[in-house]
């Protein structure tokens, strides 16, 4: 997602100023609250520089993947989400799907290595869900895929940012 965010930021802010539909201000507080109030059974969310997140289950065997609030905001109205065919083996950084917004097809990349075992079908039917709750892994949320973590995937996690580091990273961008 890196490309989208870095590149669309000026556009996104312009949208926010002019369009009532996308006029949500950047929900910093909500973003923090959500990040730290994730269910106690799950591990804390980790983020990539490309603006994807992953949240592992307590046993660290599986995890949910999605795009960050920051990315979803910068993308603008998502009109279609392309999901992978499961199961799909991936390495960290591999494209696992794409979103389309404002004439742009943008890749979604896997934050870690593993096997994609489930996808969020709701996004195919209601792509706007990804704008409403991109970091929400509930059944009504905008998560993208569920991954079965491989050994290499556990190591990939070390290279990711926690919520605080990611927030700092997005502020620098």
């Amino acid at each position: 997602m890196a490309s989208i965010v870095r590149s669309l930021r000026p556009v996104a802010s312009r949208f926010a100023a002019s369009s009532s539909r996308t006029a949500r201000s950047w929900p910093i507080s909500q973003f923090q609250a959500r990040t730290f109030s994730a269910s106690s059974a799950a591990q804390a969310k980790k983020y990539t520089k490309d603006h994807e997140w992953i949240e592992l289950s307590e046993d660290k065997k599986t995890g949910y993947i999605g795009i960050s609030e920051y990315a979803a905001h910068a993308l603008g109205d998502v009109v279609y989400v392309e999901l992978p065919t499961i199961p799909m083996e991936v390495a960290a950084g591999d494209s696992i799907g794409a979103v389309e917004s404002v004439k742009s097809a943008s890749d979604i990349n896997s934050p870690i290595s593993g096997t994609i075992v489930a996808v969020n079908d709701l996004l195919e039917e209601r792509p706007g869900t990804i704008n409403k709750g991109p970091e929400d892994e509930s059944s009504a949320g905008g998560w993208v895929a569920k991954v079965e973590v491989s050994d290499a995937g556990i190591k990939d996690l070390d290279g990711l940012m926690d919520a605080a580091a990611y927030k700092e990273f997005t502020e620098e961008e």
Partner: protein, 408 residues
């Protein structure tokens, strides 16, 4: 290629054909991947839309991450749908297949809506680092090129298209679209490509290619096209190419002499097919799997058509008895099919359409074989109906006259 040069005498007798090939395309590969080039222009001499998009995709994937690339090309007549679009909604496939012009159907990798290309339309494509990208920057670059050639009224609109104010038929000044944009954003590189209608001889017939007869009967996920009145700029292709390359140089070029810069413009041609990655991309782009099966899920139904429906595409040969054909297609494959001719049908033939499950819609080349004609009794009159022919017309199959696919 240096390491292999020493082996040449050894190889010459054995596989003489390999070396010249490698030599020819390697110049393009060297130019595309040269890390010392921060800004470079490529111009295609091929008019094959599939090849040009594959060269473009190669440039997106292989040019140095910190470089900015301009790629210019024109295509032979084709209709290009966006990555997440439905060809049965966007394109009149029957006209495309049965008309002399031989318009090709292409699905590109970028987002956005459907456009028509021909030799009078030049495409520009700018590939740059994500940090440099914004949606209007390079459309503005093209606007400057158009202005330098005398098209003072060109401007970028809120849809990131380039429009020119012209008088319409009533003499009122209105914006006409001359260029449309689409984008492909990857982790390492961003691509913005756009069309520019310069002198297309086909403006009048474009809507004929883009008006799909099945559109009113399909509910689909995916991306809709927004149709706009279009016009030619009225500029020569070569002049436009020169002017865009000049504006690109002003934005990104080095301070080198114009003559040096001009000599660095790389002309790429059909031989690019010999680059393995381009050959692979070309095969993918031309595959029916990509063109048809990448289509987002959709549902076709004639059940809700009523007598009073103002839907214009409903053919008069589609009597009430036939208003019960329904299917859903996911990845271009039938998932649920039902045909219900209802009790008014005079036919006793049972059609085992559920057998279509898992088959691909685009592979049904003749619906008349599946849905044979029969006599239908309506108000004591016998009417011959051919649901198969109608389905052929709606989905662009069969080999009828092009006009048979046009619903007014």
């Amino acid at each position: 290629m240096a390491p292999s040069r020493g082996l040449r005498p050894l190889l010459r007798t054995r596989i003489p054909a390999l070396k010249p090939h490698a030599r020819r395309y390697s110049e393009f590969v060297a130019a595309a991947t040269d890390p010392s080039q921060k800004a470079r222009v490529f111009v295609s001499q091929s008019q094959d839309p599939y090849l040009n998009l594959s060269i473009e995709h190669y440039l997106l994937q292989r040019t140095p991450g910190d470089s900015t690339i301009l790629f210019l090309y024109t295509n032979s007549p084709c209709v290009v749908i966006g990555r997440n679009q439905n060809p049965w909604i966007e394109v009149n496939l029957g006209v495309l297949r049965n008309e002399e012009l031989g318009v090709k159907l292409v699905r590109r990798r970028s987002g956005g809506g459907t456009v028509f290309h021909d030799e009078g339309n030049m495409n520009y494509s700018v590939i740059c680092p994500p940090s440099e990208f914004n949606r209007d920057k390079h459309a503005e670059m093209v606007v400057r090129a158009l202005k330098s050639l005398g098209t003072e009224k060109a401007r970028v609109n809120e849809r990131h298209d380039i429009v020119v104010d012209k008088e319409d038929k009533e003499g009122a000044l209105k914006p006409f679209k001359v260029s449309g944009s689409a984008y492909k954003l990857t982790r390492l590189r961003s691509l913005h490509h756009g069309t520019c209608l310069l002198s297309s001889p086909n403006l009048e017939s474009i809507s004929k290619y883009l008006r799909a007869p099945a559109k009113p009967l399909i509910k689909a996920r995916g991306v809709d096209s927004v149709s706009s009145p279009i016009a030619n700029v009225g500029i020569d292709n070569f002049k436009f190419q020169e002017a865009v390359a000049f504006e690109f140089r002003s934005l990104y070029g080095t301070l080198s002499e114009a003559s040096v810069w001009n000599r660095s413009i790389f002309f790429v041609d059909e031989k690019a097919k010999e680059v393995p990655e381009i050959a692979y991309g070309l095969e993918e782009l031309m595959s029916e799997d990509w063109i048809y099966c990448q289509t987002p899920q959709f549902k076709f139904s004639t059940k809700n058509i009523t007598e009073t429906d103002s839907v214009q595409s409903i053919p008069s040969s589609w009597p009430p008895a036939l208003r019960g054909i329904e299917f859903t297609a996911k990845h271009g494959k039938f998932t649920e099919v039902s045909v219900d001719y209802n009790d008014r049908t005079a036919s006793s033939e049972q059609i085992e359409l559920p057998l279509l499950n898992k088959l691909e819609l685009h592979k049904i080349t003749d619906w008349e074989q599946l849905l044979p004609p029969f006599l239908f009794t309506d108000s004591d009159r016998n009417v011959a109906v051919s649901p198969g022919r109608t389905m052929n017309q709606l989905f662009g199959m069969g080999n009828y006259e092009p006009s048979a696919y046009v619903r007014e």
